[in-house]
């Protein structure tokens, strides 16, 4: 089967979803292909009890007693042995979370939407000399506003330089536990630390059929469909358009390149995909191909495609980054023996941000989210001393309703040696997997220790009876970036400032991989804004 659309978009995550929507709305002939299908809403019934879910968050590698750790367990996550893009990660290695379904990782997105600041785009990160933004905040400002409106972002305008304001709808108000945390810490914060209302892509419109039901745990998949994702927010609007087509269960396995005579580089003549269910090959001849498969899968597709001519994939896969972070959890004693508050809102209502010093006395920026929900997974048991049953039960009841977690992020330190490279193993479909070489830098580790100490201090001030450093192994930040970084010239990256592949005349990349350096902020909104900007350029250029 051969298809001949104008635009072929590969992937429907943060980049691909916005791009497909904007192109389709502009009347362009768009074909979108995606591995896997649209997940059933029943996959996201996070209010279902653990019993109903059946596995109690116990995965194959869970060990007892269960210690607090970052371990995302969800049926949608690709099984590393069967379907993953990467070889089985070694113990302590980079753990890549991956979802082969429409919406990609946004199926389990927590929804935080932060604009990058002028300082982020001005390349003030002292550790990122090889990775520099070739655009400014001004280039993206309007596109940020557009995607904030599409994603229904809530928040408050604060006038902070570090967190530029956006187009927000009204947020939910703080909960009792948020007030305890803020009141306990407000007086002790220096001028460089501040709280703000969280900015999240959560539908709070009272008349919406998918409005937030305040179940408190967006990051495990939104049960009401209120957290933005392509399939719930944008696809319904374009699905019936005659110029739009979505092929589910269709995985791109190769881009076929044809060398051009002129200086424009090569051209992609075909996207070769496989129908995952029927097993047959689908060929797509598109004028423009946009790869939006994510910061691991996109380089994998490019490396596989150009395995016989590596000059076409120079620098692809290098400078892999994930947001360094510290995660500290506790229970706030001040809430013990008070009635449980059923309003769990959207889990993390409060952000904190600012700058702190590293061990050398250099200041670095950070952002954090204060998260609280009923404790569905009793991690705390491992930390409890041996107690009589009635006492353990009494304490567990209090912990259950007073859990608080601080997640603090710092900027990444890009390193060329952190990279995605082709491996020998193949996946379920016979496509070569990749290996991830990744080492956390000493600077990132130092920042992590500083942030963990700050988090412990703040939680203790708020009556945290014990503060567990949950740890944050490489990959668990799930903010993957850098592997096809944008740059001002071909020496500095893989795509230009318009996200066009330097070596090709009709190939673009649009996902986390194009971000040259991760700041402390969550990257998703920036990926969405970049996609919106690219869509506008493609519409102007090709239609």
């Amino acid at each position: 089967m051969t298809l001949r659309p104008k635009f072929c978009v590969i992937g429907t995550g943060a980049g691909g979803g916005i791009l497909a929507y904007r192109l389709a709305k502009a009347g362009a002939d768009v074909l979108v292909i995606n591995s896997g299908g649209i997940p059933a809403q029943s996959e996201f019934q996070n209010e279902l009890s653990p019993e109903q879910k059946g596995h109690f968050e116990i995965g194959p590698h869970t060990t007892f007693p269960v210690r607090p750790e970052i371990c995302i367990v969800h049926p949608l996550l690709a099984d590393a042995r069967r379907r993953s893009s990467i070889e089985c990660p070694r113990e302590g290695g980079f753990h890549h979370y991956q979802i082969h379904h429409v919406n990609g990782l946004q199926n389990l997105w927590n929804g935080i939407c932060l604009r990058y600041s002028e300082d982020d785009f001005a390349n003030r990160n002292p550790y990122s000399e090889d990775c520099r933004w070739p655009i400014s905040l001004g280039d993206l400002a309007d596109h940020y506003s557009e995607v904030e409106r599409l994603a229904l972002v809530v928040g408050e305008r604060n006038g902070l330089r570090q967190f530029p304001d956006g187009s927000f709808l009204a947020p939910r108000s703080a909960r009792q536990i948020d007030r305890v945390f803020i009141d306990s810490n407000a007086g002790s914060l220096g001028p460089d630390l501040f709280f703000l209302e969280n900015r999240k892509a959560v539908d709070l419109r009272p008349d919406s059929t998918q409005k937030c039901v305040a179940c408190g745990n967006c990051g495990r998949g939104c049960r009401s469909g209120s957290v933005y994702k392509f399939s719930t927010h944008l696809l319904p609007e374009i699905r019936a358009l005659r110029n739009f087509r979505l092929l589910e269960h269709t995985r791109a396995i190769k881009l076929t390149a044809v060398d051009c005579d002129n200086a424009e580089g090569f051209s992609i003549s075909h996207v070769v995909a496989i129908d995952e269910r029927a097993g047959r090959i689908v060929e797509i001849e598109a004028d423009v191909v946009i790869v939006c498969a994510g910061a691991i899968e996109s380089p994998r597709l490019l490396l596989n495609s150009f395995a016989d001519d590596r000059s076409k994939a120079e620098q692809v896969g290098e400078f892999l980054q994930d947001s360094p972070r510290a995660v500290v959890g506790t229970s706030l004693f001040r809430l013990w023996f008070r009635p449980a508050n059923e309003d769990r809102g959207y889990g993390d209502h409060i952000l904190l941000g600012g700058q702190i010093k590293d061990s050398q006395g250099k200041r670095f920026p950070f952002v954090g989210q204060f998260w609280s929900d009923f404790t569905k997974v009793p991690y705390y048991l491992a930390e409890m001393p041996r107690l009589p049953r009635f006492l353990l039960e009494t304490i567990s009841r209090q912990v259950f309703k007073s859990t608080a977690t601080l997640v603090l992020f710092s900027p990444a330190v890009p390193q060329r040696k952190n990279k995605v490279v082709l491996a020998d193993g193949v996946d379920h479909f016979g496509q070569r997997q990749v290996r991830i070489d990744y080492e956390t830098s000493e600077i990132e580790a130092d920042h992590g220790r500083r942030l963990a100490a700050l988090a412990r201090r703040m939680l203790r001030k708020a009556s945290g009876y014990i503060a567990d450093d949950v740890g944050s192994p490489p990959g668990s930040g799930v903010h993957y970036a850098g592997t096809c970084r944008m740059a001002a010239d071909p020496k500095g990256g893989v795509v230009n400032k318009d996200l066009k592949y330097f070596k090709s005349k009709n190939l673009y990349v649009c996902d986390g991989s194009v971000m040259p350096v991760l700041s402390e902020k969550h990257p998703t909104l920036t990926i969405m804004a970049l996609a919106h900007r690219l869509a506008e350029r493609l519409i102007k250029t090709y239609t």
């Binding site: 116990i58 449980a340 009793p378």
Partner: protein
């Protein structure tokens, strides 16, 4: 009641929380099968050639500890516990 349920019930008797997780007995074989640490215990228990032995007689101390932690975890992750903890103070 299936044979597996009966085996699981006997296995869980090692924990003081055994009676609290009674409604979950049917889920236990599958959970143990899926988990790398629990699978050997479950497999050994299924192949127990001397059914008169109790888990405490059959397993080493370290394995009993793992089982106890597992059953305790199940109870505090269960619906029954969550429902009761949401109510009252």
């Amino acid at each position: 009641m299936s044979g597996h349920d009966s085996l699981a019930r006997r296995l869980c008797q090692v924990s003081p929380y055994a009676s609290r997780i009674e409604p979950l007995i049917g889920l236990i074989p599958e959970i143990m099968e899926r988990n790398d640490q629990l699978r050997p215990i479950w497999t050994a228990w299924r192949q127990n050639a001397t059914p008169d032995l109790t888990p405490r007689q059959y397993f080493a101390r370290g394995q009993i500890k793992v089982l106890c932690d597992f059953v305790e975890y199940l109870y505090f992750a269960s619906d029954a516990f969550a429902r009761s903890a949401r109510r009252g103070r």
